[in-house]
Symmetry: C2
DNA sequence: TGAATAGTGTCTGTTAGACATTATGCA
DNA sequence: TGCATAATGTCTAACAGACACTATTCA
């Protein structure tokens, strides 16, 4: 068996999500270079052995370049590889998902990008074709987001630091595509210890002011007890 | 910006699990070549652009080479990358997890392997040090296995095609590390539609013969309703 | 006929979901 | 003072967990 010299292009791509008016948005860039020049794509780039350490560091670097955000919620989703994905040859893309708080964000392109925009996600799609197999990547990221939303505090990372329970419920409702009972939601979220009250802080845009909450600082991800298939027995 | 020529080694490694006497086992190989010659490692190998299509096909090929099993349960777990993992330079490993039915398996090495063995998994560890960062990879695979076991039919893929509910419960119990109520387990598994009865087939090694079941053929993975954070409302 | 395991019936505490009710501030 | 939204209370059906009980085979 000969030691075959590999020629594989390794990239990190990130589906960067945020919420605007309770609508899920993903950050897309328009490619300025071949291949797929002019097409929209998930932001990403080639892994560079020199500046980058782990793959996660690569993702963080790309994220900071595009959004200026230093430490959002970041999670590896899945890796795609094959000979047909990129006309330049066999390629491997490590897909990450990032959740940004829905505050104002300054977007910044670079010389390999001719435009950059937030695009509304409808189901698991956007309104335009994507370069490479990025439609498939976006689908995978959406599925991960939805499935984790069902049993964890993930969605709170899409909201501002402080939020009302109604805002949180709206966000879950929009992303899961179901209407949620307000009283039940409140009870479950509070009982799970997902959030903590911000003492004396209220949101005033409704009639009665609403208590503001924030995620519990020590745990950035809370899972609900009721997921567990079986409770742990004593014996 | 200069188009830097990447020099990254891409491999696929697989944590192949099975059950023996209700104990979780993982398949390890002893390396016959440098680096880490003589050390034990998860089976895996370099992605070859020529014979392989997708990464999953690479994993299936390696699996068939080692175990002769054509189509076990296979799932991508996570990808590890960095400059420190492999002394040869920056490397990327795509980790898969495979579940094999606990029937007799003929193991076969190749010229890059000096030995191959099933090794008992205790918690998320084995009784010997592993090459590269494979201890971390094994840990990740074990965590995925345990977390999915809590709310899905995954564990059934570790059993023979036909099994009793007691055997299934034993397997879950061993892997989750908890004792499970027999009556409750039976009710949940049957109600979830996880298995179907094999009419007229019984296991006779106890006193009263036990009904044999098999996984529902159309769905190789069943999730329990009770995972869902909230039931879907009508409105 | 007793031992051992398979499988069923029943009770109970918890909790999610539905909905009614109260609280609060603003127009 | 009426209204809209926030927040709480109450009722009920579903169900997990515990455990008692029955069923079935073999030694």
């Amino acid at each position: 068996m000969t030691q075959h010299r590999q020629n594989i292009l390794v990239t990190v791509d990130t589906a960067i999500f945020t919420l605007q008016d309770s609508q899920l948005q993903v950050l897309l860039v328009q490619r300025a270079t071949e291949p797929f020049k002019g097409a929209w794509a998930l932001p990403g780039g080639v892994v560079q052995e020199e500046p980058d350490g782990s793959l996660e560091q690569t993702a963080f670097r790309k994220l900071a370049e595009k959004t200026g955000v230093a430490s959002p919620y970041l999670e590896q989703v899945m890796t795609f590889g094959g000979p047909e994905r990129d006309p330049r040859g066999y390629s491997v893309s490590v897909l990450y998902m990032a959740l940004l708080r829905s505050t104002e964000l300054v977007l910044q392109g670079d010389d390999r990008v001719s435009d950059i925009a937030w695009v509304r996600v409808d189901g698991e799609r956007v309104d335009r074709p994507l370069a490479f197999d990025h439609a498939k990547l976006l689908e995978a990221a959406c599925q991960r987001l939805r499935s984790k939303a069902q049993y964890s505090s993930l969605i709170a990372h899409l909201l501002p630091d402080e939020f009302t329970l109604s805002e949180l419920r709206e966000a879950y409702s929009s992303i899961l595509g179901v209407s949620l009972n307000a009283a039940g939601f409140r009870r479950r979220v509070l009982q799970a210890g997902l959030v903590e009250e911000v003492k004396g802080a209220f949101r005033h845009h409704g009639r009665r002011p609403a208590q503001l909450y924030r995620l519990h600082p020590e745990s950035n991800q809370v899972y609900f007890e009721t997921n567990l298939m079986w409770r742990v027995g004593e014996g």
